[in-house]
């Protein structure tokens, strides 16, 4: 634990959380595209860090570990979203809540929907490469897979998004 804190140049666990809070939040939001849900994911990842910080191997690269944990937590957030929707039905008529993405454009909405429908690996590859601007090598190292695998996931994800968007456009009157 001391080695981890020293390497991260912080003096306590709270400072460590403070250091990475923004990184976790940004990544979570990129995946879930919803402020409330991104907050939940951020909180779960901070909890995971609290619980596991002492057990991380000294050679663990914390930024990469957090990227993996946050990505997985965000990819698993779909189930929770379904539950929440039930509670928010009554509030559906209210104006859009503060903190949500202000972009209500059709293209943005369609892209968000199509992106959310991608299989996990494809979605992670597209988001991390295009929105987080990670290299394929970085993504591969983060998830412990080969660079070739990430490239294939990215290529198939982008192709699928294109098909989905084309179908959406043809369905729109």
């Amino acid at each position: 634990m001391e080695a981890l804190l020293r390497r991260e140049e912080v003096d306590c666990l709270d400072s460590l959380l403070e250091k990475y809070r923004g990184h976790i939040w940004r990544l979570a939001f990129r995946f879930v595209q919803d402020a409330d849900e991104a907050q939940d994911v951020t909180q779960d990842v901070l909890l995971a860090l609290y619980q596991q910080a002492a057990r991380l191997r000294p050679e663990t690269r914390l930024a990469a570990w957090l990227t993996r944990v946050t990505s997985n937590a965000a990819l698993n957030a779909k189930r929770r979203r379904t539950t929440r929707r039930r509670y928010h039905l009554a509030a559906a008529a209210e104006p859009r809540r503060r903190g949500s993405n202000p972009d209500a454009g059709l293209v943005g909405t369609g892209l968000r929907r199509a992106l959310a429908a991608l299989p996990r690996g494809q979605r992670a590859a597209v988001i991390l490469r295009l929105l987080e601007e990670k290299t394929f090598r970085e993504i591969a190292e983060t998830f412990g897979v080969t660079e070739g695998t990430v490239k294939v996931q990215f290529a198939r994800g982008l192709s699928r998004l294109r098909r989905e968007m084309a179908e959406n456009r043809s369905e729109t009157p």
């Binding site: 306590c12 809070r21 939040w25 943005g108």
Partner: protein, 168 residues
């Protein structure tokens, strides 16, 4: 057409300039003969630009301790809380403050009020509890993950971070 299939996975990579030199030369040669694939690359390139433009926006990280970040109709951290919400809130504040505060609380901390506990608890604990205060009615004060964490922390001895397993 069968030739096009060979390039299926390369076209998206070519569109974002992620092909190797050999791959790029092969793709360009194919594009010279195939208008469908040429069109496909253009559309994929536009899509990647749209994705970046439309979905790159990330709002600032909400600070649960700023008063205006509490949503209207949510549970406000002000006097006047009554009933089970107030009880659950106070219990949650004290429990989280004491448990998580073990890592960051000064020796002589004043623990007489929830506010005092929260002022000495770590940022993580404050964030955890405050986030849960913003839940709409119908949600429990803590998420399952938070409850599990707090339950494990309750069994923890002398502030060690590795969680103790509860007996089955």
């Amino acid at each position: 057409m069968s030739k096009c299939r060979e390039f299926e996975d390369l076209l998206p990579l070519h569109a974002v300039e992620e092909t190797s030199l050999d791959e790029a030369l092969a793709v360009e040669e194919h594009l010279g003969d195939c208008s469908d694939c040429r069109e496909e690359v253009i559309v994929l390139r536009e899509l990647s630009v749209s994705l970046r433009r439309e979905l790159s926006h990330v709002p600032p990280l909400p600070d649960p301790w700023l008063a205006d970040s509490f949503t209207p109709g949510g549970i406000a951290p002000a006097p006047g809380l009554a009933g089970w919400r107030g009880i659950a809130l106070a219990a949650g504040l004290i429990l989280a403050g004491i448990l998580v505060g073990r890592w960051s609380m000064p020796e002589q901390a004043d623990l007489r009020t929830p506010a005092a506990v929260m002022s000495t608890a770590g940022a993580g604990a404050r964030s955890l509890v405050a986030t849960k205060l913003r839940r709409p009615p119908g949600f429990s004060v803590f998420s399952p993950a938070a409850r599990r964490f707090l339950s494990e922390a309750a069994h923890r001895k002398e502030g060690a971070i590795s969680p103790a397993r509860t007996q089955p």
